[in-house]
């Protein structure tokens, strides 16, 4: 992502879109500047004298800085050396001539048992610009342009009031997306539509007023959405007191980074073990499609024929209570395996399709439930 100051947009009536980059020459120039620079300061100055759109160059430069390897500095050591210099200077009544100034460095070097050059070098490392560029970014101009265009979408959403997204019902993508929503303390409503899932994302206060408060967090959802391959996004964006609509989809968007968002196949070893056991006697589908229950997403672990299976591992009582409420409303054949020590009394009483396990679930405990759905 890049700061809002570098955002470039195209407005048409009430519609807004990022001014996507298609030409790679600016990206190539900024990358070239990074390759020729010994320090961050040199890189920034080299970019400053490039001709062209300042916002474009500045945005590209930000991304390049994020991608290059910059010298790490021991900021405590730097601070200690500088403090010694300042204290010596203060004690001497501050140097007014270059000779007096040199003496301060000499005295400090002697005190710290360092060379004068080393003291001076560390003294200047307090400024970010003086840090060395160890390795320029390992991306080509085409990839930098892809990342830039994704960053533009995200930065535009900094000012969004809400974001809607539509993507195929593929559990790996949805799982990460929903997890991100929770981690970012956002809210969502999900709906099934023609085999796709439609999401509406915003935050708690959005029900009370239009607010950009959640914009920077909504922007972080974009890579999870575009990772789906086929996707569309719609958002309301407030810029300069006016509200615009932003619409984009995998059909119309420029090329974006291919990097898929990492998905864990299994939540825990218990599930892996269970899969190993059951798949020996019955075909098991891992990560089946996501179920939508009253706007919430429910992600089962396995599917055997038409039977959904979920293993509820360790979590807080509150989590289990909400999970229970959700399960009770699924309305589809569902088998839930619950760790005995963690289950609430109501689980046992109300749901016939709940199997308790101790330590780890065993095949013999579940086989009678699974058998009718098992088509070998």
């Amino acid at each position: 992502m890049i700061p809002l100051d570098y955002l470039r947009v195209v407005k048409r009536g009430k519609e807004i879109k990022p001014a996507y980059l298609s030409d790679v020459s600016a990206a190539a120039e900024v990358l070239e500047a990074a390759r020729g620079a010994k320090t961050l300061g040199e890189f920034r100055r080299a970019v400053e004298i490039l001709r062209g759109d300042k916002k474009l160059l500045g945005g590209l430069a930000r991304l390049v800085e994020q991608l290059m390897e910059v010298e790490g500095v021991d900021s405590r050591l730097v601070a200690r050396v500088r403090l010694e210099v300042f204290k010596a200077s203060s004690a001497a009544g501050f140097p007014l001539t270059p000779e007096e100034r040199e003496k301060i460095f000499e005295a400090t070097a002697a005190k710290l048992r360092m060379s004068v050059e080393e003291v001076k070098r560390l003294f200047m490392k307090a400024y970010e610009e003086n840090r060395a560029v160890l390795k320029p970014p390992e991306v080509d101009p085409v990839e930098l342009v892809r990342r830039y265009n994704l960053a533009l979408i995200q930065t535009l959403l900094f000012k969004s009031l809400y974001v809607k997204a539509r993507l195929p019902n593929a559990p790996s993508a949805v799982k990460n997306l929903v997890r991100a929503v929770k981690g970012l303390r956002l809210m969502y409503i999900a709906e099934e539509r023609g085999g796709d899932l439609e999401f509406h994302f915003d935050g708690p206060a959005s029900a009370l007023r239009q607010t950009e408060r959640y914009g920077t967090r909504l922007a972080k959802l974009v890579p999870y959405i575009t990772a789906a391959g086929r996707w569309s996004i719609e958002a309301a964006v407030r810029l300069n007191e006016r509200i615009y609509t932003f619409k984009e989809s995998s059909d119309t968007a420029p090329d974006l980074p291919k990097k898929p968002v990492e998905a864990e196949e299994f939540d825990s070893s218990i599930e892996q073990e269970f899969y190993r056991q059951v798949s020996r006697v019955c075909p098991v589908q891992r990560e089946p499609e996501v179920l939508v229950v009253e706007g919430r997403v429910y992600i089962p672990d396995f599917k055997i024929g038409g039977l959904y299976i979920e293993i509820v591992g360790f979590w807080t009582p509150d989590y289990l209570r909400r999970k229970y409420e959700k399960i009770a409303k699924v309305g589809k054949p569902l088998l839930v395996l619950v760790n005995e020590e963690l289950a609430m009394a109501t689980w046992k009483q109300l749901l016939p399709n709940v199997v308790m396990f101790k330590g780890r679930p065993r095949l013999e405990d579940v086989f009678k439930y699974v058998k009718p759905y098992c088509r070998q």
Binding site: R82, L83, A126
Partner: protein
């Protein structure tokens, strides 16, 4: 089961037997996403009192307090006017106290925390102020003070936090503190910072400032965000009695030949555009027009760039760096604080005279140690950009040097205030101004009604 109120990330969820009086409140809305009523947390006291007046029992699940109670380990001694301010605020336990810099606003807040005995969140503008409040609070509440900013996030019974951190953390921290203190409360009404007040359910709120007024007029919102002004005392009422007397000297420096020629050229470019469009600048919002125009008109953009160029020239001329040398020579052994407009000039001064630098690009670790050494007197001078404009208490500064600044009177008062802590001798203030440039009138404007 009665009415149930609970906390949800900056809002209050309302469930159970909801009386119509509560449903009818304009700020209470049904949230279809969760099928419950919801209100911004700031309305919590209103919802509660309306429900109680309607006679329903309330199950209040909003609070998850940081600690049960706060007790001061030492008595907080107040000066007579501080005592008056506290009494005025205690009447409603909401509102703003206006006192000039150096009058000891912090002590009013500490006394209020001690008196209320509730967990408190203290919101301050800068990292330097976080440190300063932590030190002072710890004297009265040892072991119960935490800080929350950048690298260090440790919550405690009394937590000091920056406006920036509070803006994002209020969804997490809101229901832990029943008392909010806003230092330099004139920052609060801005569109983002005001959310700290809106997303907190704290019934008790105290704002502190020397000048609540804002040029954008948003200070009127302080009434509902924090409460009205409950106490006000001006600098002239306590000058010389509680704060030091001072003396302002204007030092004129000249641009070099080269700088002078460049300045004239930029000025010509700027003025010819302004005149060609018949623009007049009476307030900051008029200037905003030029900024807006520069988005479309390349000539406006050139004029704006010329204006910035002029500004940099007068603020950064090497003559100002020289002037610092003369002042240093004149005040050997005094405690000197130097302010600049741009970081680059602050750096130039720091590198030339090896004076410690406190700006945003210096690590907070280094800044902390510099401030501590400056307070102890191990460091006699310090140069800074705008970071220390506000509230930071640097005792016994004898000399303030203003190398550049805006025409804002507030900024001038605040910077001056650094030298105004009570001391036996007169404080000295130098304003270094570039002769025959716009800076001369800028400097005059900021002193209007002050000296």
């Amino acid at each position: 089961m009665g009415l149930i109120l609970s906390w949800d990330r900056g809002t209050i969820l309302i469930e159970g037997d909801i009386p119509t009086e509560v449903k009818r409140l304009s700020f209470v809305k049904l949230d279809a996403r969760v099928g419950k009523y919801r209100a911004l947390a700031i309305y919590y006291p209103r919802v509660l009192s309306v429900a109680q007046a309607a006679g329903v029992s309330v199950e209040d699940r909003v609070w998850s307090p940081q600690c049960r109670e706060v007790r001061a380990a030492a008595e907080v001694k107040l000066r007579s006017y501080q005592e008056q301010a506290l009494v005025a605020w205690m009447r409603t336990k909401r509102g703003v106290v206006v006192m000039p810099t150096g009058a000891g606003k912090t002590h009013v807040a500490i006394a209020a925390i001690a008196k209320l005995g509730e967990p408190a969140l203290v919101v301050v503008p800068t990292v330097e102020l976080v440190e300063q409040w932590r030190t002072k609070l710890t004297q009265y509440f040892p072991g119960r003070v935490g800080v929350w900013y950048g690298e260090e996030k440790r919550e405690s019974c009394i937590t000091v936090i920056t406006y920036d951190s509070a803006y994002s953390a209020i969804e997490q921290l809101g229901n832990r503190f029943r008392f909010l203190v806003f230092d330099e409360v004139h920052h609060l009404p801005s569109p983002s910072y005001r959310q700290i007040a809106e997303l907190s359910p704290a019934p008790h709120r105290l704002g502190l400032t020397a000048t609540p007024e804002r040029s954008d007029g948003l200070h009127v919102d302080l009434d509902w965000l924090v409460g009205p002004v409950v106490y006000r005392i001006s600098a002239s009422e306590i000058r010389g009695v509680w704060t030091a007397d001072y003396d302002v000297e204007v030092v004129k420096v000249h641009l070099t030949e080269e700088e002078r020629a460049l300045y004239k050229e930029l000025e010509k470019k700027y003025l010819s555009y302004i005149r060609s469009r018949g623009l007049r600048f009476r307030s900051p919002s008029d200037f905003q027009k030029l900024v807006m125009m520069s988005g479309r008109d390349p000539r406006a953009r050139e004029a704006l760039e010329a204006w910035h160029g002029m500004r940099r020239l007068v603020f950064e001329t090497s003559a100002k760096v020289e002037a610092v040398g003369e002042i240093l020579a004149r005040h050997r052994g005094s405690k000197i604080l130097i302010f600049t407009e741009y970081t680059s000039l602050a750096r130039a001064v720091s590198e030339r005279y090896l004076i410690p630098l406190v700006t945003h690009d210096i690590s907070s670790y280094e800044r902390e140690h510099i401030m501590a050494a400056f307070r102890r007197g191990e460091l006699k001078a310090l140069v800074t950009g705008k970071v220390l404009d506000e509230g930071v208490d640097v005792p016994d500064v004898d000399v303030v040097v203003i190398l550049g600044g805006t025409s804002s009177t507030r900024q001038f008062i605040q910077r001056m205030g650094r030298a105004l802590r009570l001391k036996p001798h007169k404080a000295k203030i130098y304003e270094v101004v570039t002769a025959s440039t716009r800076e001369v009138s800028t400097a005059k404007r900021r002193k209007r009604g002050v000296t």
